[in-house]
């Protein structure tokens, strides 16, 4: 916590100054990274929304600060995009009678994003074991065989994944 809390008005003025001074630069930077202006504009908005909601006080090195916030948002965005791509591909392969309604599809996608975020920091093999158990419904023995690990290890991985999910679930 800082000693001097900015008044809300001050904070908004600060962010406004940051926006006027640097949003063009940030947009250009993101557009180069993404190769598309629309997504870049979205990310610029997200970045400033995040800053506006934060309690950041002084922007000593505005561009370094912006890069840092935008970098986090970009990484997260790429992850979300790759999940959405995989989800859409899976939808395409589903037999027609089993394709859920548009609203349900959206709900599922939201939950997928949540679960994806919970599993984010787990080692790949732990994540895999967890998904094989919880989504594919495989028995621990079968998972051990498929991943070439011992049954004890599968159980340890499962517990590790559950601890992680329980910490992060809302």
């Amino acid at each position: 916590m800082s000693d001097v809390l900015p008044s809300p008005d001050n904070h908004i003025r600060n962010v406004e100054a940051l926006y006027t001074g640097h949003q063009g630069w940030l947009h250009a930077k993101l557009r180069r990274r993404l190769g598309n202006a629309v997504d870049a504009a979205d990310l610029v908005q997200d970045t400033f929304t995040r800053i506006l909601a934060s309690k950041a006080v002084v922007f000593d090195e505005p561009r370094a600060y912006l890069s840092c916030v935008a970098g986090g948002i970009l990484a997260n965005w790429c992850k979300r995009k790759s999940l959405e791509r995989a989800y859409l591909a899976a939808l395409e392969h589903l037999p027609a009678p089993e394709v859920p309604s548009p609203e349900t599809r959206l709900l599922i996608l939201e939950t997928l994003h949540e679960i994806d975020a919970m599993l984010d920091t787990l080692p790949p093999l732990v994540r895999r074991a967890f998904l094989l158990s919880q989504l594919a419904g495989m028995k621990y023995e079968a998972i051990a065989e498929q991943l070439g690990i011992s049954l004890i290890t599968v159980k340890r991985y499962m517990k590790q994944a559950f601890v992680q999910c329980l910490r992060l679930v809302d």
């Binding site: 899976a90 089993e98 599922i108 939950t111 679960i115 989504l135 419904g137 517990k159 679930v169």
Partner: protein, 325 residues
């Protein structure tokens, strides 16, 4: 503090223990003793109860995900090359059969079936010859018609068959086959259920001849309308009277007439995902009435309001337990 609500205190130790329980439960079936231990654990402190609430929220989220869609999305490669994804997806779909409505944790059979219904679903079909088939919850059939016969293979679950006069002359015999044997329809309306290594037949109109798979012709038997009989691959049990309860499912109802609660629960479990169990202490409670199978929650609340029991739903409704009140 605006964040106070979010910053719900979490007891790290209770969370570890909850994770341990989830790990055990995900291993497969849970014994009654384990279940009692778990209940005692959960009720022993507020921290544990609150850790378990998180577990329920988590399982609720996971349980709501259709595997065929979620597995490829969550298990995607770090760098999703489109080709890699597609080929892996094909593999997954082949390995882990998943239907949106009818996913069952271990059941794999029926994926390649001609027709199948999910858990809680009912499917009405009219076959090429006009024969009508209704699939009860979690059922699968193959249909093979050729010049010489009409054959319906029941892979799992339960069906009602209403035969039609064949469009081909001379009429081809209509058979229903199960793992235990086959049945020839001599009449028009009957149900067949495949369950626990036995076939259960109930004849509503006409007659059916049963031919167990591993028995000679002496073991064959004709079952008349109003009768039911069950058989394995060798022998047929003596027919008994069949009542309207056997076809109630086609009307979306489960009829119980002084049915033991454990039998009732086993019947109800066919129509919903997840575990449902009753406390051994009330297993012999007798239940009567007509219950909507398409709405298990309502059925459970009807039970709760009529009998001396309470319904405990855990893990987002994934695990239901009936306990004495």
């Amino acid at each position: 503090m605006a964040d106070a609500q979010r910053a719900e205190p979490v007891d790290a130790e209770a969370l570890e223990e909850a994770a341990e329980w989830l790990m055990c439960m995900s291993a497969g079936d849970v014994t009654d003793a384990q279940q009692a231990d778990w209940l005692a654990w959960r009720n022993s402190s507020p921290a544990r109860a609150s850790a378990w609430q998180r577990a329920e929220r988590l399982m609720g989220k996971l349980g709501g995900l259709p595997p065929a869609l979620s597995m490829p999305a969550l298990d995607r490669p770090a760098d999703p090359g489109r080709r890699a994804l597609v080929s892996r997806l094909a593999l997954l779909l082949a390995l882990a059969p998943a239907s949106w409505a009818g996913w069952r944790l271990t059941e794999q059979q029926g994926w390649a079936a001609d027709y199948r219904s999910g858990i809680g679903e009912r499917l009405d079909l009219t076959l090429a010859d006009g024969t009508q088939v209704v699939l009860n919850t979690d059922s699968a059939i193959d249909v093979r018609f050729n010049a010489g016969e009409r054959f319906i293979r029941l892979l799992r679950g339960e069906i009602l068959v209403q035969t039609a006069p064949d469009i081909v002359v001379p009429a081809r015999p209509l058979w229903v086959g199960t793992r235990e044997g086959r049945m020839q329809a001599l009449g028009t309306r009957f149900t067949v259920r495949e369950f626990g290594g036995r076939t259960y037949l109930a004849v509503i109109e006409g007659a059916i001849r049963i031919e167990p798979g591993n028995a000679d012709h002496l073991a064959r038997r004709v079952v008349q309308a109003g009768q039911r009989a069950d058989f394995d691959a060798r022998t047929i049990a003596a027919p008994r009277p069949a009542d309207e309860a056997v076809t109630a499912w086609t009307q979306g109802m489960l009829l119980a007439d002084k049915m033991r609660l454990d039998a009732f629960v086993a019947e109800l479990a066919r129509y919903q995902r997840g575990f449902i169990r009753c406390d051994p202490g009330i297993a012999d409670l007798r239940v009567s009435g007509a219950f909507p199978i398409s709405d298990p929650r309502r059925t459970l609340s009807m039970l709760e309001s009529t009998y001396a029991l309470r319904v405990e739903a855990h893990m987002g409704g994934y695990w239901t337990m009936l306990a004495p009140r």
